[in-house]
Amino acid sequence: MSSTAAATRLVPKFDTDRIAVLALVVVVVVPLLVFVVAPLVGIFKMSFVTADGIGFGNYVRYVNSPKFAKVVGNSLAVATTTTAITVLLAYAFAYAMRRTAMPGKRVFGSMALLPLFAPSLVQALGIVFLFGRNGVINRTFNLGIDIYGFWGIVISDVFYSFPHAYLILSAALAVADARLYESAQVLGATGARIFRDITLPSTKYGILSATFVVFTIVITDFGNPMVIGGDYSVLATEIYNQVSGQGNFQMGAVIGVMLLVPAALAVIAEKWIMRRHHATITERSQPLMVVRERWRDRTGLAFTAVICGLIAAIVLVVVVASFVTLWPYNMHVSLRHYRFEVQNGLKPLWTSIWVSLMAAGIGVVVSVGAACVTRRLRNLAGQCLYFLSILPAAVPGMVLGLGYILVFNDPSNPLEALYGTLLILALCNVYHYHAQGYLIAMTSINQISRVFDEASTSLGGGFIKTLWEVTLPIIASSIISVGVFFFVRSMVTLSAVIFLVTPVTQVAAVSVLLLDDAGNANQAAAFSVCIMVVVALALLLFRLVLRMSGRRNVLLIH
């Protein structure tokens, strides 16, 4: 004790600072190891456990089974088709939003993000109501469209992943150097030529990034294929069936590893591309001013209106179906589906809200903490922490969830008491979305000039003091948006928590899946509506609070 005190007196600043950093490193790194790395190790280990000891037996067996090639082929076919369609549509949409002078941009911009606020399977639910064999379209026009299977999954996932691609591409198209466009016009280039030679090359990183993000989302999506896939199995549903249907944890783990590979490759490729992405905009660049151009603007308007119309139609039909007596035979308004005549009733909704609040709180602390520590460390350790923090982006929710059962439902694990609690659901959500929360915080922290750090340090402020009095107040708005991000994701996510819920900890998105799985599509729709209402109210509330505290233009959507 006395020696420490003496040391503190000798080099006071250095020491407390170091301890503070070290403490924060421990607070940030240890949970990352426990809640991300350990479950992954658990999955890998389990995938090698066979009846006759440790080995590649499970892999050999699975690769040789005829079903394997089919399921992998299905997954890749769905993911590539969906990615191609989504990126194309989202690019056109973002182009219309950023490069035309069409009216109504604010409304269209918000409508495009609608799918972010609903559980993933809502798209599939809506599409069944609309395009099902006995859906609105087939009944009205007598077309005989059969939506179940490949196209059903592709269409649902296009809408599900659309906002993610749109946000990336919109950011890519937002910046442009007007000087380039002016010179091209002076040199007599046509519109098509300008698009091909200037616009497209300058947004290629955005396109690549969107491609990989969409691919990852689709290949790991579980909710939509469950609802609309019929007998068309993909890797994500196959894990669920192996584990939940047949109790085959080894095989589930093998497929988990298989799913991890493409997802991880996509994420690595995306990060690698973004690193190469040198700024094309310099301080001498002129912002591009969009001038009116009748036909282009009208086409843009028509296109965005159609896309937004479809997005809205899917959500709307779910809302309508939830208020109808006997879809599709008796269309009188009724509240009967909101009675939720299942054992837990509406309770999972409150559970979800509570879990999401916990996730928001914990998520803010760990992801902002990780960002602060990364900035402070700078060196190799910082890079390691960066890698650890974004690692979850490459881990599909189902794989993480399965890893959690393997690790935390083990009586020899001192953390076993966590299993079956709401806290583990919150933690699972936090670490499932850790990468995104961390990157939001990182972007915001990196905008603070290091001059502040240096000024604070030279004035005698330690790491903690600088953090508390300089960094955190500057990024306060981002912190709030990180919290909102975790709240919203936790409300709608399904894939990771599906393995972890217990009768008392059932969450709302799982209720939607179980209701639909039991064939109660209307009650599933009603429950989805409740989730969407909670998310919308939460966003409104945050907007209001932010506005009252004088902060505007805070991005609440990521």
Partner: protein, 337 residues
């Protein structure tokens, strides 16, 4: 080291006490494969009879529940098994988890519906039934099927949905009854022929009926009572019980050796055999082992035969339990997509 992990564990338990909802007196956890809406009705009645006991329920398909219990075997989370297929229950891996218990009133239950050693007893059961959507039938000009054999008619191609035998208890009972009545070789051939008409194999036993109810498909192969429910809801459904005889399954209940709250669990099991519960079985299920369970008027009006025993195929349960793993593996290899 031991005390150290122990201390951490105690600390975490303490931290969690605000979130944690562990088993405590007055609370039990039941794992079930009964339908969600039935669970609610039964529990509402039970809560009125025994207000002091709260029952937490996890509902999963028959096969899924088996997987869940095996996965948690080292550390079971439930106190009772409630309404779960007997062909699963008699698997030694599950029997060894059950504690023999003879609930009040067990003597009234026919010997066929209880384990001589008292490890399980059945209260309800289900048998195969086709849910036929009359509107879709008319629109597509299709004949009304009356038997399994009728379903092979090529006019039904892409119009029939059926449960997945690997996850659904209903599906397994159907497949095994066909194999038993036709013999394995002809049975598998029948299932392969039928496969040509099947649009989807669905994981749950009741969902095919609901898919037929909303008109997504003409015929949903399901269990009888799910058809009754859809008819009572007002959907254009007719319940058809295959004329060859309907494969059936009984749903059993058991006490777990590892139950954390055995006293309340036993009270719950006792209640399942009361007259009050039996009356509900008459309204919510197609067959019951408990005397006093009589099908209600509405149920009979919806098309459930007054004497169920005449429509049932006489299953060999010992064989269907013994061959379960093999048949499911074969089904997955030959039929599953």
């Amino acid at each position: 080291m031991r005390t150290w992990t122990g201390m951490i564990r105690r600390l975490i338990a303490l931290l969690l006490s605000s979130f944690c909802l562990a088993a405590q007196a007055g609370e039990i956890t039941a794992y079930t494969s009964l339908e969600e809406d039935d669970v609610k009705v039964y529990l509402d009645a039970f809560n009125k009879a025994k207000p002091g006991i709260k029952v937490n329920v996890l509902r999963l398909s028959t096969g899924d529940l088996a997987a869940r219990m095996l996965a948690e075997k080292g550390n079971p989370r439930h106190d009772v098994i409630w309404g779960w297929a007997v062909t699963q229950m008699v698997d030694p891996r599950f029997l060894e988890m059950a504690e023999p218990y003879k609930p009040v009133g067990i003597d009234k239950v026919n010997a066929a519906f209880k384990d001589p050693e008292g490890r399980w007893f059945a209260t309800t059961g289900y048998f195969a039934g086709f849910c036929v959507n009359t509107e879709v039938l008319k629109k597509n000009n299709l004949p009304m099927p009356t038997s399994w054999q009728d379903l092979l008619n090529p006019v039904y191609k892409g119009q029939i949905v059926m449960p997945n035998a690997a996850s659904s208890g209903t599906g397994y009972a159907q497949v095994v009854s066909i194999l038993q009545m036709k013999g394995e070789e002809k049975g598998w051939q029948y299932l392969k022929d039928l496969d040509k008409n099947i649009a989807q194999y669905i994981k749950s036993g009741s969902r095919p009926c609901k898919a037929a109810a909303t008109g997504e498909y003409a015929i949903g192969i399901s269990f009888a009572f799910s058809g009754v429910k859809q008819i009572m809801e007002g959907y254009p459904i007719k319940l058809v019980i295959p004329s060859e005889g309907a494969g059936y399954e009984t749903e059993v209940n058991a006490l777990m050796k590892t139950a954390k709250n055995k006293e309340d669990a036993k009270q719950f099991l006792d209640w399942l055999l009361t007259l009050e519960a039996a009356k509900l079985y008459g309204e919510r299920s197609e067959m019951s082992s408990v005397p006093g369970a009589k099908a209600s008027e509405a149920v009979l009006k919806a098309g459930l035969p007054p004497d169920v025993s005449v429509v049932l195929y006489k299953m060999d349960f010992a064989s269907s339990a013994k061959n379960k793993d093999r048949i499911i593996a074969e089904w997955k290899q030959k039929i599953e997509r």
